[in-house]
Amino acid sequence: MLTGVSFRLSPGQGLVLRGANGLGKTTLLRTIAGLQPALSGRIEGAGERAGYASHADGIKPALTVAETLRFWADLYRTDLPEDVFELFDLADLRDRPAGTLSAGQGRRLGLARLAVIGREVLLLDEPTVSLDAFSVKRFATFLREHHLGRGGIAVIATHIDLGLDLPELELEPHRAAPEAQGGSDEAFL
């Protein structure tokens, strides 16, 4: 879908991916996360250090907010930081089953996972969908102060302005020629 995309990020740097829907932002993030192989090229340094967040939050309705975050902390063998509930405005919802949360609250819970798993490289696919302006600001604060500010790296695909002053990468010029998008169809043409 995309070709000739190349970037290198140092600790503390973020990058915003821009481009029309269907261009391949999600594919690029999934490829960096190791969920699918790149047709060609190299990805270095991500792998075991990367945390991936798709548009779906993977929230289990039957688990409470606290249980959900505790699970991710256990799975990544990290300690559950106490301030995460404050940071994502979830303190009042701690013991609510996630199934009773609104869409925006659920999204906040999904994003709070990123603060729990302790990964240096965050790959975020449309993190602000269904968040209100206030929550977007909170999330931006988290990224700036708690992640990038502590030497983290973030690659974000988003349509809105997070107010973070991050460099942007416009993917439109990297759109692969239609003839080159065949994938495994190529062998039959």
Binding site: P178, E179, G182, G183, S184, D185, F188, L189
Partner: protein
């Protein structure tokens, strides 16, 4: 020039397509010779009467039922290791042929069993194994049909073929064990090949050759069809991407 150059779909198609009609005619000829020889020009076996002549269909189809699965196993391994599309499509093409062979073996077995054992069906180890093999073919074909993405389908069916092969062998031994457990040693199975005299054996060999040729012809034909269908799909996709869709 390595053998892998034929893994190119176009080259494979160009090379094999002219062979298919010849193979078809050759298999028809060999089968006609073998079957006529077997049916009309062999003496009747003293123990079995004329019903024995069904072996000319039964044994070769049973042989090909197993060989088709083996071919699928090899093709699946080639796909998983070398990712040649033709290999995956050949495995897909062979499955229905193998399934029909299994079915022929089962049906002719039942027809033969009726006069010989007085029953259409017995839970004899060999019969049961073939029934299980038939179920494996069904599952494999259904999985191919259910997955829309062709590469994903090839991967998943190959994994199923590998795991299925292990379990098919396990089932074979399990079934042997199970039936002995039921009738201490009183097996209904006839040990076919060892008792067969040359008069029967040679036309049987001819029939086996005919079935092998028929299998080759059908698999090549069906692989060609799969390649063409995949090519049509690829062309459609390209037309959609470049916005040049014509009715």
């Amino acid at each position: 020039m390595s053998i892998w150059s034929y893994a190119n779909p176009r080259k494979f198609l160009d090379t094999t397509a002219p062979w298919v009609p010849w193979l078809m005619w050759l298999s028809a000829l060999v089968l006609a010779v073998g079957l006529v020889w077997g049916f009309f020009f062999t003496p009747e076996a003293e123990r079995f009467g004329s019903s024995v002549k069904i072996i000319y269909l039964h044994v070769p189809s049973a042989l090909m039922a197993i060989n088709a699965w083996l071919m699928m196993l090899v093709a699946s391994l080639i796909w998983l290791i070398r990712r040649h599309h033709v290999s995956a499509l050949a495995a897909r093409a062979a499955a229905p042929v193998g399934m029909v062979m299994t079915l022929i073996a089962l049906i002719t077995g039942a027809i033969w069993g009726q006069p010989m054992w007085g029953t259409w069906w017995a839970w004899d180890p060999r019969l049961t194994s073939f029934l299980i093999l038939f179920l494996f073919y069904l599952g494999y074909i259904a999985l191919w049909a259910a997955i829309p993405d062709p590469d994903g389908a090839a991967d998943l069916t190959s994994v199923l073929c590998l795991v299925g092969s292990v379990f098919a062998i396990l089932s074979r031994y399990a079934v042997n064990f199970w039936n002995q457990g039921l009738h201490q040693g009183a097996s209904l199975s006839l040990d076919k090949q060892e008792n067969v005299a040359d008069v029967f054996w040679i036309p049987l060999l001819v029939c086996m050759a005919g079935f092998v040729l028929l299998f080759l012809a059908l698999v090549l034909l069906r692989t060609g069809t799969e390649i063409r269908a995949r090519r049509i799909e690829a062309l459609r996709n390209r037309a959609r991407r470049t916005g040049a869709v014509r009715a």
